[in-house]
């Protein structure tokens, strides 16, 4: 039930290749769900400027500046991070602090980022933001599983070219 696929989200930028995750047997990736929701839901259009800042940040990182560590920040780090893990759940750090949206991700390298889902942060803590609690928990699940898959070589990481692939490149990167 918890199986998911790691797949490309935007791989045409020179500085960063963005990946996403999709629950197995579902049509939309988690990041597409985030984008679809904020693009198409009429009642969420008042978040449009915040959303656009996230979009611009992804584009500028991909095109020009790379996925530097400081463009990301931890979310509820104490709860989120297993002490010895090398992969953490982060959120994109978007310029203006008035931004109330969060898009979770894991930054694997300066040139590889896996984007997850996100939503509206309505209070100081994620646990008090109903729109984020499930997505944050899922993001933790994705980040841990991806970390494990990379360590166990179920996902191969070509750091030079920013490419993730299955051991057999024609296979999907399915994670159990």
């Amino acid at each position: 039930v918890n199986n998911f696929v790691v797949e490309s989200f935007a791989d045409t930028y020179p500085r960063v290749k963005f990946y996403t995750v999709r629950w197995d047997e579902t049509p939309l990736s988690e990041t597409d769900k985030f984008f679809q929701r904020f693009l198409e839901t009429e009642s969420l259009q008042n978040y449009r400027e915040d959303f656009d800042e996230i979009v611009a940040l992804i584009k500028i990182m991909g095109e020009q500046v790379g996925a530097a560590e400081r463009f990301f920040r931890f979310e509820d780090a104490a709860q989120a991070l297993p002490p010895k893990s090398t992969v953490y759940v982060r959120q994109l750090l978007v310029s203006d602090g008035q931004n109330t949206l969060r898009l979770y991700c894991t930054r694997l390298r300066d040139n590889i980022v896996v984007l997850f889902n996100g939503g509206i942060k309505s209070s100081q803590k994620v646990s008090d933001s109903p729109d984020l609690t499930t997505k944050f928990r899922e993001a933790q699940h994705f980040a841990k599983k991806i970390d494990k898959a990379i360590q166990e070589k179920d996902i191969l990481m070509d750091e030079e070219n920013g490419v993730l692939s299955a051991p057999n490149p024609s296979d999907e990167m399915l994670i159990y």
């Binding site: 990736s29 693009l39 656009d52 800042e53 611009a56 584009k59 750090l93 203006d96 602090g97």
Partner: protein, 119 residues
């Protein structure tokens, strides 16, 4: 491969939003580099600018916009220019012309012109 939703979102981003994010990334990167060159921590920078360390932290953690006044203080502190204004060769000359035109066309003259056209 690029997600269709992402492509759509990128195509709809307003130019000013992209410019704002780019400026923010460039300016904060520039300040962080200057701090690193001078072996300065956020606490040191706060002390030098007479600000709270928490405020400095917010600049880099996205909770606070830098003001032009603060940027000027940082430029003075490090003795370098962080923001540059594109000025054409005849920038000063053009500004003078504009001011001259404005001065020769006072609000009273404009009002008179309107009145005479109504009459």
């Amino acid at each position: 491969m690029v997600s269709n939703y992402f492509q759509k979102a990128v195509s709809e981003v307003k130019p000013e939003t992209e410019i704002f994010v780019k400026h923010y990334l460039d300016i904060t990167t520039c300040i962080l580099n200057l701090m690193e060159e001078h072996g300065m921590t956020q606490k040191d920078l706060a002390a030098a600018l007479d600000k709270n360390a928490s405020e400095i932290n917010r600049w880099f953690k996205s909770d606070h916009n830098l003001t032009l006044k603060t940027l000027s203080k940082i430029e003075a502190l490090f003795g370098v220019s962080i923001i540059e204004v594109n000025k054409p060769a005849n920038f000063a000359e053009k500004s003078t012309i504009k001011r001259t035109r404005l001065a020769s066309h006072t609000p009273q003259q404009s009002a008179n012109k309107v009145e005479s056209s109504i009459a």
